[in-house]
C-alpha cells in the first residue's frame, strides 16, 4: 500500500511553473514560466492557487447546496421551492447572497465589538480547513496530512469556540443560552464522534484520509455500521442540524447566537453552516462510503460527488422530517446511547481484527454481515434502554380517577324551564 498519493493539481501547477525539476520528470513540464532557482516561488504560487481553487469550489458548492436544499424542502412539503431566478431558481441563493451583502450592518450597543466581529471569521475558518484534507478524487486534495482524521476532529471543535464567542459578544441573554447549549452539545458529542472513528482506524491502519480511502476494499459502512450511525448522528450534532439544532432552535431562541447578527456577518455564519454540512457529508462519504472509489465507468470525482450528494440528501431528509430533541435527551443520547454503541463497536472490531488481521474481500463480507447483526441488536437494546423512563411515566398516569361530571341531579323544582330571557 502506498503511503503517499500524489497531489495531481498541485503537481500540475507546479510543474507548469518551474523550468526543470527532478520531481516533475515523469510529468513533463510544458510551460516553464519561471526561471531556474525560483522553485520556492513556484511552490508558493501553486499553493495559493490550489487554495484559491478549493475555496471557490466550496463557495460554489455552498451556493448550489442551499439551492438544492431549498428545492428539496419544496419537494418534501408539496410545493415547488425557489423557481424564479435562473433556470429552476438556480440563482436564487446568489441573489440572496448579494442581498445580504447590501443589508445594514447593525452592531448592538451592548456588544463586545471586537469579538462580535471576530466570531464569524472564526466560524468560517475551521470549516474551510476541514476541506483541505479531504480527497475529492484521485490525487485531488490540498494536503495529505498523515493525521488527517484527527485534524478534522480538532478543527471542527474550533467552531464551538466561535459559537461561544458569538453568543457572548452579542451581549444578549438569549444568545448566551445558545452558547451554553452549544458548549454542552459539542463537548458531549466530540467523544462519541472521535470514538466512532476508532474502528475505521483499526481497519485502515492510518489516519490519512487518502489512506483510509485506499484501505476500503468494501465501503466501511458495511464493516462499521455502528460507527457510521454514531458518526452520522454526532456530526449532525456538531453541525447543529435537526434533531440537534439546539443552538439555533428557531422556535425557542429565535436563532440563538445569530440573533444580533445582520448583513454579511450573518451571511458568513450562514455560509459556514452550509459549508459545515457539506464538510460533514464529505467526511462521511470519504470515511464510510469509500470516497472517490467506485467502478471505473465514471471518473473518481463524480463518484465522490454522487456519494456527497447522497449523504447531503439524507441530512436534508432528516432535517425535514424530525422535530428537535430536548437538551437533556440530547445529552442522554450522547452519554448513555452513542458512547456505549461506540464501545461495542470498538470491542467487536478489535476481536475481528485480532482473529483476521488481514482479511480478504470475501472474509470482509462475512465480517460485514456479523457487524450488521450486532449493530441492529445493540441499537434495539440501547433504544429500549433510553426509552424506558418515558413509557413508565405514561402508564402510571393512565390510572387516575375521572373527575365527576353530571353524576348528581338537583331537584326539578329548583330548575328554570328552558325559556328565553324576558
Amino acid at each position: 500500500m502506498d503511503m503517499i498519493v500524489e497531489n495531481n493539481i498541485f503537481r500540475f501547477i507546479y510543474c507548469n511553473l518551474v523550468n526543470t525539476n527532478e520531481s516533475c520528470s515523469d510529468f513533463g513540464n510544458f510551460l516553464g514560466i519561471l526561471p531556474l532557482g525560483f522553485e520556492w516561488l513556484a511552490f508558493l504560487i501553486s499553493g495559493f492557487l490550489l487554495c484559491f481553487i478549493y475555496i471557490n469550489g466550496i463557495l460554489g458548492a455552498v451556493i448550489l447546496s442551499i439551492w438544492g436544499e431549498r428545492r428539496l424542502y419544496g419537494r418534501f412539503q408539496n410545493r415547488s421551492g425557489p423557481n424564479r431566478w435562473g433556470p429552476m431558481g438556480v440563482f436564487t441563493s446568489t441573489a440572496d447572497a448579494i442581498k445580504v451583502m447590501f443589508k445594514e450592518d447593525v452592531v448592538p450597543v451592548d456588544a463586545d465589538k471586537f469579538l462580535f466581529n471576530l466570531a464569524p471569521v472564526l466560524m468560517v475558518f475551521p470549516v474551510f480547513m476541514v476541506f483541505s484534507v479531504i480527497p475529492v478524487g484521485i490525487g485531488t486534495f490540498v494536503v495529505d496530512l498523515n493525521v488527517g482524521l484527527l485534524f478534522i476532529l480538532a478543527v471542527t471543535s474550533l467552531s464551538g469556540l466561535a459559537v461561544v464567542i458569538a453568543s457572548w459578544a452579542s451581549g444578549n441573554r438569549i444568545s448566551i443560552f445558545s452558547g451554553l447549549r452549544a458548549v454542552a452539545v459539542l463537548i458531549s458529542y466530540e467523544i462519541p464522534m472521535a470514538l466512532s472513528l476508532v474502528g475505521v482506524l483499526m481497519l485502515s491502519g492510518t489516519l490519512s484520509l487518502n489512506g483510509i480511502v485506499e484501505a476500503q476494499k468494501i465501503p466501511f459502512i458495511l464493516l462499521q455500521p455502528l460507527g457510521f450511525v454514531v458518526f452520522f448522528l454526532a456530526s449532525l450534532a456538531e453541525i447543529n442540524r435537526t434533531p440537534f439544532d439546539l443552538t439555533e432552535a428557531e422556535s425557542e431562541l429565535g436563532a440563538g447566537y445569530l440573533n444580533d447578527y445582520s448583513s454579511m456577518k450573518f451571511g458568513i455564519f450562514f455560509l459556514a453552516e452550509f459549508a459545515a454540512t457539506i464538510g460533514a457529508s464529505a467526511v462521511i462519504a470519504t470515511v464510510f462510503l469509500a470516497g472517490w472509489k467506485g467502478p471505473e465507468i465514471l471518473p473518481s470525482h463524480i463518484w465522490f460527488g454522487i456519494k456527497l450528494i447522497l449523504v447531503l440528501g439524507l441530512i436534508v431528509w432528516v432535517r425535514m422530517s424530525w422535530p428537535r430533541m430536548r437538551i437533556d435527551q440530547i445529552l442522554h443520547l450522547a452519554w448513555k446511547g452513542l458512547f456505549e454503541l461506540t464501545l461495542i463497536n470498538i470491542i467487536v472490531t478489535t476481536i475481528m481484527i485480532s482473529i483476521k488481521p488481514d482479511p480478504s474481500v470475501n472474509e470482509m463480507w462475512i465480517m460485514a454481515i456479523i457487524n450488521w447483526v450486532i449493530c441492529i441488536f445493540s441499537l434495539i437494546i440501547v433504544s429500549k434502554f433510553l426509552n424506558r423512563s418515558v413509557k413508565d411515566n405514561f402508564s402510571n398516569l393512565k390510572n387516575t380517577t375521572p373527575y365527576p361530571v353530571g353524576t348528581e341531579k338537583i331537584k326539578s323544582s329548583f330548575i328554570n324551564k328552558k325559556e328565553m330571557v324576558n
Binding site: 435537526t242 434533531p243 439544532d245 422556535s251 425557542e252 425535514m320 418515558v390 393512565k398 387516575t400
Partner: protein
C-alpha cells in the same frame, strides 16, 4: 457550594413561536423554568368597547377578528346570544348550515393547533404545511358559502347569510373524505415518532381539579379526563339530535392535549355527516319581517356559551332596548386557559416552554380582543 443565580429573559412579543404577539417574562435557573409572568395587551383592539357603538349585526364582524382561526365559532356564539336576547326563532336549515360551518371551522382550528405543535417542537415546517394544506380545502368551502375565507361573518340572527351553492355539497363530500386521511397522517406523525412522544409525554401535567378550578375548558380539560363538552352537556342549536363521542384522555400532558384535538376533529367529521343527512330544504333565515335588519332586543341580559375550538366561548350581552348592545363581554377561552400557564411551565425545561404554551392552543386575537 456555589449557589446558582436565576436569569430573567424576556420572550416576545416578537418571537417566532408565541402564536401572535405574546410576551412572557421568564426566569430560568440554567435551562429550568422557575418563574413565568405573562404580559398581555399587544393585540388589544377594544372589541368590547367598539361593540357598544355598533348595531347587533355589525358586531358580528368584530367577532370574526377575535379568534381569527375559528371565526365561524365566534360568529355562532355571538349569534346564539343575540337570538336568545332578541327571542329570535331560527330557521332549521340555517341552523344545520351553521352547524356544518362551525364543525368545519373546528376541524380547521384543530389542524392549525396540531400543525403548530410539531412546528414548536422544532420540525422545519413540513407537518405544519401538511395540516395547513388540508385547512385550505376547508377555507375553500367557506369561500363557497360566504365569499370569505378567514373573516367570514357568515351567520345572521336566525340562520345564515345565504344558502350554500349547488357545488358546495360535492366539495364538502370530498373534503370529508380527505380530512380523516389527513388526520391519520398527522396522528401517525404524532404517535409514531419517538422524538415527539418522548418530548410531549409527561410534560406540563395539570390535575383535573386544578383545571376546573382555574376555569380551563375545552380540549385541555378533556385531556385531563373531565367529560365536559357543552355540545353534549348543554346542547345548543341541534346538537341534541346528533350522536357523537367526546374523546377523553387521562394523562393531561402535552401529548394528551393534541391527541384529544385530533380525535375531536374526527368526531367533527361524523357530526357533519349527520348534519348532511338531516338537513332539509327551506329558508336559511327568517324573513326581514320576522327578524328586522335593525334588531332592537328588549332590555335584559343574557349569557350564552358554545363549545369553541379552544374551550367555552361565551358572550354576555346586555340590551337597553336600543340598536346597539349596552355591554358586550366575551368569555375568551384563550385568555382563561392561560391561567395555569405558570403552573404548567415551572419545573420544565426551556425546550418545552413553547410546546406547553402551544398546547394551550391560544390565539392572541382572542386573548387580547
Amino acid at each position: 457550594m456555589p449557589s446558582t443565580q436565576p436569569v430573567t429573559v424576556n420572550l416576545g412579543p416578537q418571537h417566532p413561536s408565541t402564536h401572535g404577539v405574546f410576551r412572557m417574562r421568564v426566569t430560568f435557573d440554567g435551562e429550568e423554568i422557575v418563574d413565568v409572568e405573562p404580559v398581555f395587551g399587544y393585540l388589544h383592539r377594544g372589541s368590547e368597547k367598539l361593540a357598544e357603538e355598533r348595531t347587533y349585526t355589525q358586531v358580528l364582524t368584530l367577532t370574526d377578528r377575535m379568534d381569527y382561526v375559528s371565526s365561524m365559532l365566534n360568529n355562532q356564539s355571538y349569534i346564539l346570544a343575540v337570538e336568545k336576547l332578541a327571542n329570535v326563532e331560527p330557521s332549521p336549515r340555517g341552523v344545520w348550515l351553521r352547524m356544518i360551518a362551525s364543525e368545519l371551522q373546528r376541524i380547521a382550528s384543530h389542524l392549525v393547533a396540531t400543525g403548530f405543535l410539531i412546528q414548536d417542537l422544532g420540525a422545519l415546517g413540513t407537518p405544519l404545511i401538511y395540516s395547513m394544506r388540508q385547512r385550505e380545502y376547508i377555507l375553500d368551502l367557506f369561500e363557497m358559502l360566504c365569499g370569505a375565507r378567514i373573516t367570514n361573518s357568515y351567520l345572521r340572527p336566525g340562520g345564515v347569510y345565504m344558502d350554500a351553492p349547488e357545488e358546495f355539497w360535492p366539495a364538502l363530500d370530498k373534503v370529508l373524505l380527505d380530512v380523516p386521511h389527513a388526520f391519520d397522517e398527522l396522528e401517525e406523525l404524532l404517535s409514531a415518532n419517538e422524538i415527539i412522544k418522548s418530548r410531549t409525554i409527561g410534560v406540563s401535567i395539570l390535575s383535573p381539579e386544578s383545571m376546573v378550578n382555574a376555569s380551563i375548558t375545552g380540549p385541555m380539560l378533556r385531556a385531563g379526563g373531565v367529560d365536559w363538552d357543552l355540545r353534549h352537556r348543554n346542547p345548543y342549536d341541534f346538537y341534541d339530535q346528533i350522536n357523537f363521542h367526546r374523546p377523553l384522555h387521562n394523562s393531561s400532558d402535552n401529548f394528551a392535549r393534541f391527541w384529544v384535538r385530533i380525535q375531536e376533529a374526527r368526531e367533527s367529521v361524523k357530526i357533519i355527516r349527520q348534519c348532511i343527512d338531516k338537513i332539509e330544504p327551506g329558508p336559511v333565515r327568517p324573513s326581514f319581517d320576522e327578524v328586522p335588519r335593525l334588531l332592537r332586543p328588549p332590555p335584559g341580559d343574557v349569557y350564552s356559551a358554545i363549545e369553541g375550538s379552544k374551550g367555552e366561548l361565551g358572550f354576555y350581552l346586555v340590551s337597553d332596548g336600543g340598536i346597539a348592545p349596552y355591554r358586550c363581554h366575551v368569555r375568551a377561552s384563550s385568555l382563561i386557559n392561560l391561567t395555569l400557564l405558570r403552573e404548567m411551565l415551572i419545573g420544565e425545561l426551556f425546550n418545552d416552554l413553547f410546546v406547553s404554551f402551544g398546547s394551550i392552543d391560544l390565539n392572541m386575537g382572542e386573548v387580547d380582543r
